[in-house]
Every structure is written in structure tokens, then in C-alpha cells.
């Protein structure tokens, strides 16, 4: 396994590896954004992920989330853990099957260097940002906002305000026939993961 691990990391910039391996990133939600962020960050060889979600896998999730038909009815955190472990065993996975609220953000994600917001509703996004920024004014939080629909690649962007990063078009709302679909959800999830790496590796070449 050590030989596989050495090969796994062999293409990375050697200066990135210790930072990557010591990083602990929180993902609040394991749906469209969260499951895709998790897969991408595990692919990078990130040291540890803390992932929380209360929900179970439904058929409607299969259109954009990293689950399989055989996992319908399973807790998302259990199904995702099993899928991530199939990629490789070098990322520590701490899963919590729980609904995140003001009281448990700090106990669950407090040890994380960066938090990635991957919730569904705008209300829960606001709750997470307010709670995280109040508790940890210096720790980054990366939010997804505006990712429904199709096309319009170039409207997707990242905006920074202090420690808050927003990925998405900040415009497209879920309404009528505009639903979240795999391409844009996947793009925004990967923008969030990419933003996390950029923060981690800042100043290192």
C-alpha cells in the first residue's frame, strides 16, 4: 500500500504535499455540492474531511449527486464514505449523520481549517455563514450560491469578501422549471474545492 501511496502523490508539487496532508476541511451537506466537493478533494489526497448530513439517498439525488442506485435509502454520509473509500484510503473521513444548526456547527467543524457550505436552502446557508464567521472570524468559508439551470458557463464566478468566498452566479433561482442539474452543480462544487486548494497553497510555489 505504501508503494501505491507514493505513486498516488508522485505527480503533486512536493511542496504542496505536507500542506495537503495536514489540511482538515469541513463539508456541511452531502448532496449535490457536498458529495461532489468530497470526491474532488479525496482525489487531491486531502488529509482529512469532516462531512455532515442528516438525509438519506433518494432516486431524485442520482441526477447530480455521487451516489448509486444500490444505495437508495442509505444515510448519505454512510453511502458517501463507502464511495470515497473506493477511490483510495489515504484521506481520513469523519462523518456525522446530523442536521447542522447554530449549536452544533462549532463542535462538529471547529477543528477544520476551512468550511465548505454545501446546503440546499438559502436559509441554512445564511445560518451557517453567520455562525461560522462569528465563531471563527479568521477562518475561510466557501459558499455555493446560484447554480441552478443549464448553460451560461461564464456567469459562474468566485467572489471574495474577507474570509467569505462565494462560488456561483449569485443570480439563478430555483423556480418553475429551473432545477439544479449535474453540470452546473458539479462545476460550482469543483470551484469550491479549487478555491479551498488555492487558500491552502497561497504563497507556495
Amino acid at each position: 500500500m505504501q508503494a501505491i501511496k507514493d505513486q498516488f502523490f508522485s505527480r503533486h508539487n512536493p511542496r504542496f504535499i505536507p500542506i495537503l496532508r495536514h489540511a482538515r476541511i469541513g463539508i456541511a451537506g452531502a448532496g449535490g455540492l457536498g458529495s461532489n466537493v468530497a470526491v474532488t478533494l479525496v482525489r487531491t489526497g486531502i488529509g482529512a474531511l469532516v462531512i455532515a448530513d442528516f438525509d438519506r439517498v433518494e432516486a431524485s439525488n442520482l441526477n447530480r449527486q455521487q451516489f448509486f442506485l444500490s444505495q437508495l435509502g442509505e444515510a448519505k454520509v454512510d453511502a458517501l464514505k463507502s464511495n470515497l473509500e473506493k477511490i483510495h484510503p489515504f484521506t481520513l473521513l469523519e462523518m456525522h449523520q446530523i442536521r447542522i444548526n447554530e449549536e452544533n456547527v462549532v463542535p462538529i467543524f471547529g477543528q477544520c481549517d476551512i468550511l465548505i457550505e454545501a446546503f440546499d436552502t438559502a436559509e441554512s446557508k445564511e445560518m451557517l455563514i453567520e455562525t461560522w464567521c462569528s465563531a471563527f472570524p479568521k477562518k475561510p468559508i466557501i459558499v455555493g450560491s446560484g447554480l441552478a439551470g443549464v448553460g451560461n458557463n461564464n456567469a459562474l464566478k468566485t467572489r471574495q469578501s474577507g474570509t467569505l468566498y462565494i462560488c456561483g452566479d449569485e443570480t439563478t433561482q430555483l423556480q418553475g422549471r429551473i432545477s439544479p442539474m449535474a453540470p452546473r452543480v458539479g462545476i460550482v462544487a469543483n470551484m469550491q474545492a479549487n478555491c479551498a486548494l488555492e487558500i491552502l497553497f497561497k504563497g507556495i510555489q
Partner: protein, 66 residues
């Protein structure tokens, strides 16, 4: 005297609050996050938080979907 709101210049008035910016700019979006000079101003403080001169304000729309 001016402040910057989402990169656009806006007139500043003494005693100006976060709520005034939302009203003047007609931000009616239900879920918003407001940052003033990089510091988050919680929803509960929107009526009381005073905007300093030359402030840099970010108004961020939070949209469901994920």
C-alpha cells in the same frame, strides 16, 4: 463622502445603517449576507450597525440549490 457597495460608489450619510443601504439600493432579496469592511454583520444588527465613512460593503445573495 462615499462608500463602496459591491464595487459601486454610493453616497454616505452620518448615522447610516446597514438597513439604509438595503433600502436605498432596493435590495429586497430574502436571504442576504452583509459584510462591512470584511466583517460580517448579522441580520439582527442590520437596523443598528453604523456604516463608517469610506466603508467597503458586500451584499451577497444567498440562493437555494445545492
Amino acid at each position: 463622502m462615499n462608500i463602496m457597495v459591491n464595487g459601486e460608489s454610493m453616497a454616505w450619510q452620518p448615522g447610516m445603517k446597514v438597513r439604509d443601504i438595503l433600502n436605498i439600493r432596493n435590495y429586497t432579496f430574502k436571504m442576504l449576507v452583509i459584510k462591512v469592511n470584511g466583517t460580517l454583520v448579522k441580520r439582527a444588527q442590520w437596523d443598528s450597525y453604523r456604516i463608517p465613512e469610506h466603508a467597503e460593503v458586500s451584499v451577497i445573495h444567498l440562493i437555494s440549490g445545492g
